[in-house]
Symmetry: C2
Subunit: 193 residues, 2 copies
DNA sequence: GTCTATACGGCGATAGAC
DNA sequence: GTCTATCGCCGTATAGAC
């Protein structure tokens, strides 16, 4: 028989996983204490016991998913091809869909917005610092194209593409992606040295 | 005494204006039949009479505001400095805030999303067509930087900047804007010819 | 501590009265 | 055309079982 602590962890994980799944499948609007409880196989009151407000629940999902992502990105930033790693991470569709869901959610949930903003600032600064040193190797001029601008663009472009495609706008996307990938091929060739 | 038709138009306009104002001030989540009715000075049932679902109400606001904007942008696209006009339009803060509100809203309101997607595709194609002919004048290579990619970027960058700043992320924004404006200064100098 | 059951006011939506 | 009554679901609060 599992201990009380193990059961607690188990149910907490189930609640967080159920919430994330609901957000991806049906949007944050479908996240209610009752729907989460049903999907996680617990009582609705229990969800509210651990997460007194829905904001707390959303922030819990955000933190549990983001901490790991930030670690991975910081590693990638110190890897062989940080720019390409950043580009590919932002192109990850399910991760981007969840981030967009949180951005939409944050629009008028200040508590959620703060957590996203902090995480975004933290990871961007880390990546910028990691790639700045390589600018001479890339053959790029810091004044013409500063590292922070490129890091912003490599994250923003795929996200905006996915956001627009979700709405039914597609014009210019393939061309933009092609431009960026030709750029990456030039400054970060696949075969190192 | 105003005619019945005039009163109808008057109340409809009041409802649409109240809805848009509520979206900008407190977010689409605050838009309810009761709140719109209170702000517009009509009965809640009347709002629902004209807009049977909230989706209908949102689409009404979207259409009433967007048709005019699209006209203006198409004119701008045929103007002296189409790229700069596009860039400045996307940098308009209140318009972008409302668009972002609708994008967030559309995430799981398919009816609203379709209207935005159609409008986005329409205006982008119009702008691309308007600027394509000038590519040789700009001194740009259609393969290196296709018109559709640049049009996408000029709209997407300011929107993502505003979106992130609303969440508390600022890193790289000023640098990115500076890069784009140096580019515009080069291909579309302020003094023509 | 963990967890369940129940109650309350507000919401979108519907049907139908005037 | 205009407005009210009503329904089911929501977030929230609380009382109490284990």
């Amino acid at each position: 028989m599992p201990s009380a602590g193990a059961r607690r962890t188990e149910k907490l994980q189930a609640i967080l996983a159920a919430t994330e799944q609901l957000m991806l499948e049906q949007g944050y609007g479908s996240v209610t204490y009752r729907s989460v409880a049903a999907k996680a196989g617990v009582a609705a009151g229990l969800v509210q016991y651990y997460f007194p407000s829905l904001d707390d629940l959303f922030v819990g999902v955000l933190r549990s998913g983001t901490d790991r992502v930030i670690e991975g990105l910081e590693d990638a930033a110190r890897s062989e091809h940080p720019l390409r790693a950043l580009w590919e991470y932002a192109n990850n569709r399910s991760g981007t869909a969840l981030l967009m869901e949180f951005m939409a959610l944050a629009n008028h949930r200040p508590g959620v917005g703060e957590v996203i903003g902090e995480g975004g600032e933290r990871v961007r600064c880390a990546v910028v610092e990691a790639v700045s040193g390589r600018w001479p190797d890339y053959g790029l001029d810091e004044d013409t194209l500063p590292p922070s601008a490129l890091v912003f663009l490599l994250g923003a472009i795929p996200r905006m593409v996915h956001l627009e495609e979700g709405l039914g706008t597609f014009a210019g996307h393939a061309e933009t992606v092609a431009v960026v990938e030709r750029f990456l091929d030039r400054v970060e060739p696949n075969v190192a040295d």
